[in-house]
């Protein structure tokens, strides 16, 4: 369960004021709003990419407002695909697994399986720049 209480941010472009809501586990939620309303700002605040001025974020009853981004057990899929240009397709997918502490061989094996599942098995050693638009 994700609970947000009186969340306020200080971004000079779009600042969120006193936002509170609760998302229950197992459900899919959609946030709707006009352009510039602060949807991305809210997601970034939840991730820890934007600093909170006030308020709290709780995940399964534990406050995560002051945790670093990497320790929040959350992920964010950007509107555009972000790749690491210096890594191969395989290492791009294995990157977060390696950061979780998995050994290189194990992380690459898991990444390779996932890439083969989505039909990218032939592109493991290519760089993101060498893929066509639909492939990343």
């Amino acid at each position: 369960m994700l609970q947000v209480d009186q969340l306020t941010t200080a971004d000079p472009k779009v600042s969120l004021q006193d936002i509170s809501f609760q998302f229950d586990a197992g459900n899919i939620y959609t946030i709707l709003g006009r352009t510039g309303a602060g949807k991305t700002e809210l997601l970034r605040a939840l991730m820890g990419l934007n600093q909170l001025v006030e308020g709290d974020i709780q995940l399964d009853g534990q406050s995560i407002a002051k945790r670093p981004v990497k320790d929040r057990s959350m992920s964010l899929v950007y509107q555009q695909f972000i790749n690491y240009p210096h890594l191969s397709v395989l290492d791009n997918v294995a990157f977060p697994l390696r950061r979780q502490g998995k050994r290189k061989a194990e992380a690459q094996l898991l990444a390779a399986k996932m890439l083969m599942t989505v039909g990218l098995g032939d592109f493991l050693q290519r760089r993101p720049a060498q893929l066509s638009g639909g492939q990343p």
Binding site: M47, L49, P68, V69, K70, M74, S75, L76, Y78, Q80, F81, I82, N83, Y84, P85, H86, F95, P96, R99, Q100, R127, P128, A129, Q130, L131, G133, P136
Partner: protein, 281 residues
Amino acid sequence: MNKFYHILKTLFLFGWSLFVVFPFLWALTTSFKDANAITSGATYIPWVDYEPSTQGWTSLFTTGSQGINIVGPFIDSAAVTLIASLVSLALGTLAAYGLSRFEYRLGFVKNADITFFFISQRIMPPIVLAIPFFLMLKELGALDTIFGLVLVYVALLLPIAVWVMTDFFAGIPKELDEMAMTDGCSPIGAFFRVILPNSVPGLVVAGMFCLIFGWNDFFFAFTLTFTETQLLPVSIVSLNSSVTPWWSLSAFALISVAPLACVAVIVERYMSRGTMSGAIR
């Protein structure tokens, strides 16, 4: 019209290349001449125009009245330039990353002001810094030492590294850092694992600038050293052309240019690596 433009462009580039290369060609041919060849007019082709001699080159490695001994100044110059460039590049890269990614504010001073503060160090005429540097090194007991020169050169080269790298990091999308942190990196981890490997062209350019400015500096090498430490630019200027033969001077000049030319050829291939192509699709 296109053909005419192409011919004009080729002629201009050929002329310009000749203008740039000619001094080196002149120095190279002169370095292999002896007194007879030097005084017999402008000649360029060895064995045809003149009989080549290695006297100019051997004199560089000979001590005593017959030689110049370039080895000492060369090692001093290489040590000061390399150490100062590496330190400046390391500190400058970290400072530039901080300035491009985090917001600093102290009263009215913001990131742009701090960046300008770094660059302003290079706007001042060197003479303004000469006396303060002299007094500081005297207090530290570092006058006429490699350590003292390294300190001064770091102060001079750091702004260049900060300037180049700040501009380079500004071109790397912040989303890349954020993605790395989302994937489990700390901010420092994101810098070392993702941003730095993609910054090779910027590092090469900043490093080359540091090496060029450090290697070619004459003013501070002249004012802050006396007898114990002597860098190449000071050493070459101290040679008197009425005592030192022209062939030795030419060989000396070529050797003082050679390291930078070699570095430029070696690192050129890295300037195109690590582009952001494919980062955001």
